[in-house]
């Protein structure tokens, strides 16, 4: 089979071929969605290495079970669902055994200028700290909506439930994120002012 032939196929055709056991057809699907799945996993597990494993596991599970995929929904949302379940399972295990992950471990887009980099790093730290405090489902819905640009119907396919529930969940997630961002900001201000006060007290 020619390489260009797979490129020109749509998802449905590729899925049909993959269901017949054609690995190259499935690998074409992997190429199309690997970045989306990796980004989603990064947001959910907040660890680049783990995110890579989660993405690989998600693709492997999708390949193993692709014969049961009846193409009643989009392949993309089905894949998101598998990846989200993988991440949920990982987070459950992490919660059980305790494995804190530092936000600095994540690979983020680097800025050019050192000053802007410092500001951006602070903002990112705040964002990741706030994201970390969000429930996993709200993190997933935020990523799917804001970063992947899915509609509420597609989000409901990926996360389960109805489109209305996805909308409410997204609204709640945005509000909670904003609240946590605000509290992280206040926390940083408090931490920065505390040494000054301490110095004044010690001088007296």
């Amino acid at each position: 089979m020619k390489a260009g032939e797979l490129d020109s196929m749509n998802d449905s055709q590729l899925v049909s071929r993959a269901q017949e056991g054609e690995v190259p057809a499935f690998e074409e699907l992997v190429k199309r969605y690997q970045r989306d799945i990796y980004n989603l996993a990064c947001r959910l597990v907040a660890d680049a290495e783990e995110a890579r494993d989660m993405a690989q596991q998600a693709f492997l599970q999708a390949f193993i079970h692709i014969k049961s995929f009846r193409q009643q929904s989009q392949f993309k949302t089905w894949l998101f669902r598998i990846a989200i379940n993988q991440c949920y399972n990982f987070l459950k295990g992490k919660k059980k055994f305790g494995d804190p992950v530092e936000p600095d471990e994540l690979h983020l887009v680097e800025e050019d200028s050192p000053e802007t980099e410092v500001v951006a790093r602070d903002e990112r730290r705040r964002l990741y700290a706030a994201l970390e405090r969000l429930p996993a489902k709200q993190r997933a819905v935020l990523t799917l909506k804001v970063e992947q640009g899915l509609s509420y119907d597609e989000i409901s396919e990926a996360l389960g439930g109805s489109a209305g529930a996805a909308r409410v969940n997204y609204c709640q997630a945005l509000k909670t994120l904003r609240k946590y961002l605000k509290s992280e900001e206040e926390h940083e201000v408090a931490v920065q002012t505390t040494p000054t006060v301490a110095t004044r007290v010690s001088r007296r």
Binding site: G21, V23, F26, E27, V30, K31, Q34, R35, Y38, N39, C42, R43, A48, R52, A55, Q56, F59, L60, F63, I64, K67, L106, H107, L108, V109, E110, A120, E123, R124, L127, Y128, L131, L142, K145, V146, E147, S151, Y152, R167, V168, Y170, C171, L174, K175, L177, R178, L181
Partner: protein, 221 residues
């Protein structure tokens, strides 16, 4: 917060990303024009979404993806070779059809297992009559009822089906106990052969004086 603000704020995210229905978009738009609290809320939500968009996850680069795809390829090939699932049949019974079939089987089974009050007499009799060799089929017939006791032990008020199919001549002719029950309902449920045997025995006992019949029946000719 007013109830109107509370209601419309649910549609704020949808309004901001243009995903809300036209009806709600117009209502939110009209409401935001004269409600500063909701305008602030909308701004805050916009900022939160923007903060998330401003810190995207970095693309790890082509080397990462090359390695990723190489590892995944090995796993996929391994999975493909390890578990070649048998080709499933194209025909798949819908789940509701399977459920209906299961239910039908259950209903039929229950109907045969639980005899109704009107079903006590004729049905087993028909079954008995249909069998040329009643001895061979006896255990099957006795399954639906409490274990069939020997004839003399039956209580007087017994009106249910009684199986004599398993009783041999010795058992039917045993004179261990005295008959104190009314044989007419029992006689009605027997085959001709069984009825003849029982009648013979009862007549013998009547002659002995060990049993006296209370009433006459159509079988007592």
């Amino acid at each position: 917060m007013k109830w109107r603000c509370k209601l419309l704020q649910r549609w704020l995210p949808g309004y901001l990303d243009g995903d809300a229905p036209v009806f709600w978009r117009r209502r939110v738009e009209a409401h935001l024009e004269h409600c500063p609290a909701c305008r602030r809320e909308a701004e805050a939500l916009k900022e939160a979404a923007a903060a998330l968009q401003s810190a995207p996850v970095e693309d790890p680069g082509p080397a990462f993806w090359q390695e990723f795809n190489r590892e995944l390829h090995l796993k996929l090939v391994q999975a493909n070779q390890a578990s070649p699932e048998p080709q499933r049949s194209r025909f798949r019974m819908p789940y509701y059809a399977a459920a209906a079939a299961g239910l039908a089987v259950l209903v039929v089974w229950i109907a045969y297992q639980v005899p109704g009050p009107h079903q006590t007499g004729p049905a087993p009799r028909m079954a008995l009559e249909a069998q040329p060799a009643p001895e061979a089929k006896a255990p099957k017939l006795r399954m639906a009822k409490p274990p069939a006791a020997p004839v003399p032990a039956l209580p007087a008020e017994t009106s249910g089906p009684v199986s004599f199919a398993s009783l041999g001549d010795e058992e039917m002719d045993s004179d261990d106990d005295v008959l104190t029950w009314d044989p007419d309902p029992v006689l009605a449920d027997l085959t001709d052969q069984e009825r003849e045997k029982l009648l013979k025995r009862l007549k013998r006992q009547e002659e002995d004086g060990s049993w006296q019949r209370k009433s006459y029946s159509v079988f007592w000719a």
